[in-house]
């Protein structure tokens, strides 16, 4: 193997692939070859680096120089400057949001240096399609050690000490769950990994599988050892083809290397893993529905108990955990439960990965110790709200969660504190909203999601969510009356109380939480028939500021309803409000800011 003097890490996470990182890789390899540098500089395609809005992203080691928004056209110049002339290619560096200074390395970049990476320690660092890179970073050592030197009881004890709680949403202590499955009577047992990731604003499970799949496989094997199961399943949603491909490949490599299969590490312990691909239904993330889906049936939840730990797949005791939960296992085994427990808060241990998105400057994956404040995440790591707008609220927990208003920016992000303000950690979706986001609209969005995704088995959820949606729709159309607000609260309470599974039980949360903090905004929609954020189409109107209009006619040509007409004898245009369907096209196409929303 040649001694490389430098390594180029090229992010090939989902976000970067969408903005074209693969042609950058080709260009890079071709250019290095052309300059006879192929033996000196190595290109490694990694999983998500985390800074998705800057893609395609390159990090050049050993100096950790961080290049953003690289296009294939930039590559020859970059190779020339960086590798031949030995200086940083400034044009592709990140600029600091506050000071406008260039940031040369990953270490100097606040987005990265405020994070603590445990789950994501390998993501964006190793090639996920090459098992050797995982092994080189200590991979499968923990499994070997556990099998040859430890007992299942020891594993469970460490896990209990670590204080790790399930990252799939409910936050159930992992050690306790493993113990249940271990003690459940039964010959055959199963280990299942929940990678359904149904929250429509979350992508950390996907990134872990895309960026470091072996970490999950190793953890599942350890779980198999602790729970004495010999078969595992990873349930991945079909919308994640890259994660499926890389996980499949990882399983294959692990089998070939003897880390999965029969008699692992020359012991009597055997363990293998298969992938099951979901076919797109949010409710399949619920554990009992997920198990039904693995069995090839419709993914419909059933009442618990019995819990899967007692009666799961084909009626056998089944251990089911989320991807991120598994991703914490190997570090806990290697470094000890006490070490893990030293991170985070008293009741919420370790780190949490958030998928930070929405109205935020740095979009992407961030991993922080539990208890980090929302303010630190939004401003220090996220770089704040762009375009000079103000932070209004953060939404956590997706369709089961709630929002956190600006007055709670200093809240520590952990299970207890979020519950106190009426939200949840959830699976880790963290959507930032600014003044231009309408909270009634957001509540309506989640409720529509729940009506679509309700499996239809129990009436409170099936009918109730639809009624709540209907009320919210009325409010956003300015057709509601004040009584409807009380009805809304009643309905929410009813659906929460009487639904069968978590979907229905938590579906009203986004409504209740926006009502709690933004009641005035609801009232404005109802009483004043006004949407202060100017989002709800029925409550806004578009008009043309004739002083700014240059008469370019662009809006008129694009209006789908032909409602924009030329003012006679003038080079000005005007909208006929009676026929306007408020599609917003004119607002977007006018390049002179002449179309105004009010």
């Amino acid at each position: 193997m040649p001694a490389y003097r430098s390594t180029v890490l090229l992010c090939a996470g989902g976000g970067c692939i969408s903005c074209g990182c693969l042609p950058v890789r080709e260009a890079m390899e071709a250019e290095l070859k052309r300059r006879n540098l192929a033996d000196e500089v190595r290109v490694v395609q990694t999983g998500c680096v985390g800074s998705c809005d800057l893609g395609p992203v390159l990090i050049v080691y050993p100096d950790e120089v961080f290049y953003q928004k690289v296009s294939p056209g930039d590559v020859p110049k970059l190779v020339d400057e960086h590798f031949l002339k030995g200086r940083v290619f400034e044009r592709l560096l990140v600029k600091s949001a506050e000071t406008d200074n260039l940031i040369a390395t990953q270490r100097e970049f606040a987005f990265f240096n405020k994070q603590v990476k445990i789950v994501l320690e390998n993501c964006g660092v190793i090639d996920p399609e090459n098992i050797e890179e995982y092994v080189a970073r200590g991979g499968y050592l923990a499994l070997g050690q556990v099998i040859s030197e430890r007992t299942p009881e020891w594993v469970i004890e460490e896990l209990k000490k670590s204080g790790l709680r399930g990252r799939g949403g409910a936050g159930f202590p992992a050690g306790t769950k493993w113990d249940f499955v271990r003690k459940a009577p039964g010959e055959r047992k199963y280990v299942v990994c929940n990678a359904d990731e149904g929250d429509p604003g979350a992508f950390m499970d996907r990134s872990v599988l895309e960026g470091d799949p072996h970490r999950v496989l190793e953890a599942m094997a350890i779980a198999g050892f602790a729970a004495s199961a010999d078969q595992g399943y990873i349930y991945v949603r079909a919308e994640y083809p890259l994660a499926i491909r890389r996980t499949r490949r990882a399983i294959q490599q692990a089998r070939e290397a003897g880390f999965l299969g029969r008699n692992l590490f020359e012991s009597s312990f055997s363990f293998d893993i298969d992938i099951r691909v979901g076919a797109g239904a949010f409710v399949c993330g619920e554990e009992t529905a997920l198990l039904a889906s693995i069995e090839g049936k419709r993914g419909i939840p059933r009442p618990r108990p019995p819990f899967p730990a007692v009666s799961g797949l084909w009626g056998k005791p089944t251990l089911i955990n989320n991807v991120e939960t598994y991703a914490c296992i190997v570090p806990i085994i290697t470094r000890g439960g006490d070490w893990y427990a030293s991170i985070g808060t008293e009741k919420s241990k370790g780190t949490k990965v958030f998928a930070l998105a929405g109205k935020i400057r740095n979009t992407g994956l961030v991993e922080v110790p539990m208890g980090t404040t929302l303010r630190e995440i939004v401003y220090d790591i996220g770089g704040g709200v762009p375009n000079g707008r103000k932070f209004k609220a953060a939404q956590t927990g997706g369709p089961s969660g709630g929002c956190i208003p600006a007055e709670h920016l200093d809240i520590p992000m952990d299970y207890e504190s979020l519950a106190k303000v009426g939200s949840i950690v959830g699976s880790g979706g963290l959507i930032i909203m600014d003044e231009d986001s309408c909270m009634v609209d957001v509540a309506k969005f989640f409720m529509e999601f729940c009506t679509d995704e309700s499996c239809g088995k129990c009436p409170p959820c099936r009918v109730g969510t639809r009624q709540i949606y209907g009320l919210l729709d009325k409010i956003t159309k300015g057709e509601a009356r004040i009584e409807d607000l009380h009805l809304l609260e009643e309905l929410c309470g009813m659906v929460k109380e009487s639904s069968l599974c978590g979907l229905g039980q938590t579906a009203p949360n986004p409504v209740l939480s926006t009502l709690r903090y933004f009641r005035d905004e609801y009232l404005e929609h109802i009483v004043d028939r006004r949407c202060p954020a100017k989002v709800c189409p029925s409550l806004i109107r578009y008009s043309i500021d004739e002083a700014a209009c240059t008469g370019c006619s662009l809006c008129a040509r694009n209006c789908p309803e032909n409602t924009i007409f030329k003012v006679e004898d003038q080079k000005k245009y005007r909208i006929d409000p009676a026929r306007c369907v408020k599609c917003g096209v004119c607002f977007d196409v006018c390049r002179f800011g002449a179309v105004v929303k009010s």
Partner: protein, 299 residues
């Protein structure tokens, strides 16, 4: 012949038989079988569902129940192009719903439906994992970033016409797929630096004391890389990056009257591009422009 073929497949459905055979013995395979059948046939027609039932020993009702429960199965034929708009939370807060409505209005179908001419199937998705680019629309696997209702028409017309350069007549709209500087004849289009999935024009730009490289989208003529306030082409001076010839003082846009950028298209015609999205072929002008005509003859 087509119906004949359909009938024979219906009778023994060898493709379904093969897929089912590959999964024999696996208790949980129904979803995987349906997925593979859909991949092969494009959707799940009734005859295929019947065949799946027969080959797996399940009842048709069972098979149908599973196929209709999961969103990713389609029981109806799909269009030639798939337009998928993201309705994840991040895209929603940036206006994704309006984008879906605009798509729906332009295509005349609702999400989940296919246009009567079989051209487009409109779909929505819950987070495509590219939240940083939101609102995201994916057309036949091509990602369009930061889409707003104003961009929807152009995205659809691009999809309709494909990437190939239409042989546009004088005065017709054309998508620029090849472009050179009218003065020096060197290439301006850079396939390596696409905007919205299409090669963009590379230019030097100057505006209010700022100078630098900028790119012009061939999809909608919008300038990228210049300071925000210069987004409208008419406030910026643009030059050929090779010979520094001015590019934007040649003609005014016939639609909106502002100065445009003119480049030579592949077949020697002058294409006039404007930030309003107009890209019209001007064959007549080429004749009159001295240096430009020579280039046209050269190419």
């Amino acid at each position: 012949m087509d119906t004949m073929r359909g009938d024979t497949i219906g009778a023994d459905a060898p493709d379904v038989a093969a897929i089912a055979a590959a999964h024999r013995g696996s208790r949980a395979a129904l979803i995987a079988i349906l997925r593979e059948v859909q991949a092969a046939r494009g959707y799940l027609p009734e005859d295929a569902l019947r065949a799946v039932a027969r080959h797996t020993g399940r009842s048709l009702v069972d098979v149908y129940a599973v196929a209709s429960f999961y969103h990713s199965f389609s029981l109806k034929p799909r269009g030639r192009h798939t337009v998928c708009a993201c309705l994840g939370t991040a895209c929603h807060v940036r206006g994704g719903q309006q984008v879906v409505e605009a798509l729906s209005r332009e295509l005349g179908v609702r999400a989940g439906e296919t246009t009567p001419d079989g051209e487009f199937t409109l779909e929505t998705a819950n987070c495509l994992g590219a939240c940083a680019l939101g609102p995201v629309v994916v057309v036949d696997g091509r990602y369009f970033a930061k889409v707003n209702p104003g961009k929807v028409r152009r995205i659809l017309s691009q999809a309709r016409s494909g990437v190939a350069a239409p042989e546009a007549a004088d005065g017709e709209r054309a998508l620029v797929t090849e472009a050179v500087c009218p003065e020096c004849g060197r290439p301006l289009l850079d396939a390596a630096r696409p905007i919205d999935g299409y090669p963009s024009l590379q230019v030097s730009a100057q505006c209010n004391g700022w100078r630098g490289r900028a790119r012009i989208s061939c999809v909608d003529g919008v300038l990228d890389g210049a300071p925000e306030n210069a987004a409208a082409l008419e406030r910026v001076r643009l030059f050929c990056p090779h010979c520094s010839a001015g590019l934007n003082d040649l003609l005014r846009c016939g639609e909106c009257g502002v100065p445009t950028v003119s480049v030579l298209a592949g077949d020697g015609a002058l294409v006039q591009m404007c930030g309003c999205g107009e890209q019209r072929v001007r064959r007549a002008e080429v004749e009159g422009a001295g240096a430009r005509r020579e280039i046209a003859q050269l190419s």
